[in-house]
């Protein structure tokens, strides 16, 4: 006993913080925050992934049909010199959020329809509406812009059909962006609450060890020395909580990723493993987006950083009351 005390343990506890700074409550609360942060992160990544998918996959293009493409369009004061097709393409390319518009040529259209119509029926092709493939830009037009575009097209070329899928893509994108913003806000709130929890625990530790702090301060300890003792303890407890919270969130996230897989995997990828198999584990872990695998280990690091900075600031401010 006496012998052992002659050896300075690593992490020597001058201020008696091991007892004073709640070693169960703080990690537990930080773990809860980290769990919530993991869910918010998953929401953020998920919304971003869906948005990207819609934008570059199904959402990247839409089609516009123009019946009687060769007839003259209607201008502001009556019939326009240009054809309805030219006029529609002109309007489309002038719309912000649209990267390009390309009218399928007769041969292209014919090739597209050959399985149904057979080759060579030129007269039938002449009577079909023209089809314009439209590529959307980043950011795509808002739903309101789509509505305005639809009106403008139908005024200059009545009967033109703007595929409503584009409108829905725009709405879904707006929704995904809002979800992302909410997830970001949730992350900020969770971080603020975690900082508050650390600050409260640090203040409790300061109150409990006030006498020891005053003694060590009187012996010539700098504010930095005392703050670092608290910050070390807070960092340890907060990162323990961060690790626990991230680990607890992992199964939940994997389950969510499995549910989301069919939406994000695209048409080419196979659905998440259907039955139990050895390869099932890999598919399972692979179902979590790479971004999440990179962000999850960041949670304990973020918790540690919040613990360190909050304790440093709290203790240094508190110490200013001492001479």
């Amino acid at each position: 006993m006496a012998r052992r005390s002659l050896l300075r343990p690593p992490g020597f506890d001058e201020l008696g913080l091991r007892r004073a700074m709640a070693d169960r409550m703080l990690p537990f609360l930080v773990a809860a925050m980290a769990f919530l942060a993991a869910l918010a992160l998953a929401g953020w990544v998920g919304a971003a992934t869906l948005a990207q998918h819609w934008q570059h996959g199904a959402g990247a293009s839409l089609t516009v049909q123009v019946p009687q493409p060769g007839d003259p369009a209607i201008g502001r004061t009556g019939p326009d010199a240009r054809s309805r097709l030219d006029r529609v393409i002109e309007t489309l390319t002038a719309t912000p959020g649209i990267a390009g518009a390309h009218a399928l040529s007769r041969p292209e259209l014919g090739a597209l329809l050959r399985p149904w119509l057979g080759g060579g029926d030129a007269a039938l092709l002449e009577r079909l509406p023209a089809v314009i493939a439209v590529r959307l830009a980043e950011p795509p037009p808002t739903p309101a812009a789509f509505a305005a575009l639809d009106t403008a097209l139908r005024r200059s070329a009545p009967g033109t059909v703007l595929e409503s899928q584009g409108l829905w893509i725009g709405r879904l994108l707006a929704l995904a962006r809002s979800l992302q913003a909410c997830a970001g806000a949730a992350l900020l709130v969770v971080a603020a609450v975690a900082a508050a929890v650390v600050a409260v625990a640090t203040r409790a530790g300061l109150a409990a060890r006030r006498e020891a702090i005053e003694i060590v301060h009187g012996l010539g300890a700098t504010d930095g020395f005392i703050a670092t003792r608290f910050a070390g303890r807070a960092t340890l407890l907060a990162s323990a909580g961060g690790i626990a919270g991230a680990l607890a969130a992992l199964p939940v996230l994997l389950a969510l990723a499995r549910l989301a897989a069919p939406f994000t995997a695209g048409s080419a990828a196979a659905p998440a493993s259907a039955g139990p198999s050895v390869a099932g584990i890999e598919t399972f872990s692979g179902s979590l987006p790479v971004a999440l695998w990179l962000l999850l280990p960041g949670l304990p690091l973020a918790a540690a950083a919040i613990g360190f900075v909050t304790a440093q600031v709290t203790v240094r401010r508190w110490l200013r009351r001492l001479p």
């Binding site: 006993m1 006496a2 012998r3 052992r4 005390s5 002659l6 300075r8 020597f12 506890d13 001058e14 008696g16 007892r19 006498e211 020891a212 003694i215 060590v216 301060h217 009187g218 012996l219 010539g220 300890a221 700098t222 504010d223 020395f225 200013r320 001479p323």
Partner: protein
Amino acid sequence: MLRFDAVGLHYLSGGTPGPDVLRDLSFTVPEGAFRWLLGPSGAGKTSLLRLMYLDARPSHGRLHVLGTEIGSAPRRALPGLRRRIGVVFQDFRLLDHLPVFDNVALPLRLAGRGEGQIRADVGEMLRWVGLQDRAGTHPAELSGGEQQRVAIARAVMARPSLLLADEPTGNLDDAQAQRLLVLFRELNRLGTTVVVATHNETLVARYPARALRLDRGRLTEVG
């Protein structure tokens, strides 16, 4: 070493200045000197010592401690000065959660000394105060006199330039009190400036030295 120029002190009570507890003190304590600090209870002895060990800053006047003007010194300049001052408090102020060894080693650890040197120096110091067998004991398990010796060992551990003691014989028997004084005179002989506040006039009579005498916050005698 210590220079007081018209120094006054009042405590703050609820943000407003209370009555002056020290008034217009002017004196110097040169390097290597020994001074008694005398006066009736409530005269302001502890308040004067607090100014000396930088636990309070003067409300008026100019105070130099170890060559630094305390009134205008930035806060970050004080810890370095405090490490050069050893204090024996009347109530010891030991850290209860640490054994004797770590209490005595604290000034050396704050000074950033190596653990090997700390072990040797603290062991020697504990032998000097006769506590070599109590290194692993916690302060609460020690007698009052033993705690006092731990406090003294901690105060002198880092070889301070200035040693301040507030009623260090308050709860010691006569033999212990005399032993303590022998210790202080010895340190003083080795070059440490020493100021000892006490009520114990018999001790003062036995160890005559120059004295600072306080009465109701004023200096009535400057030895």
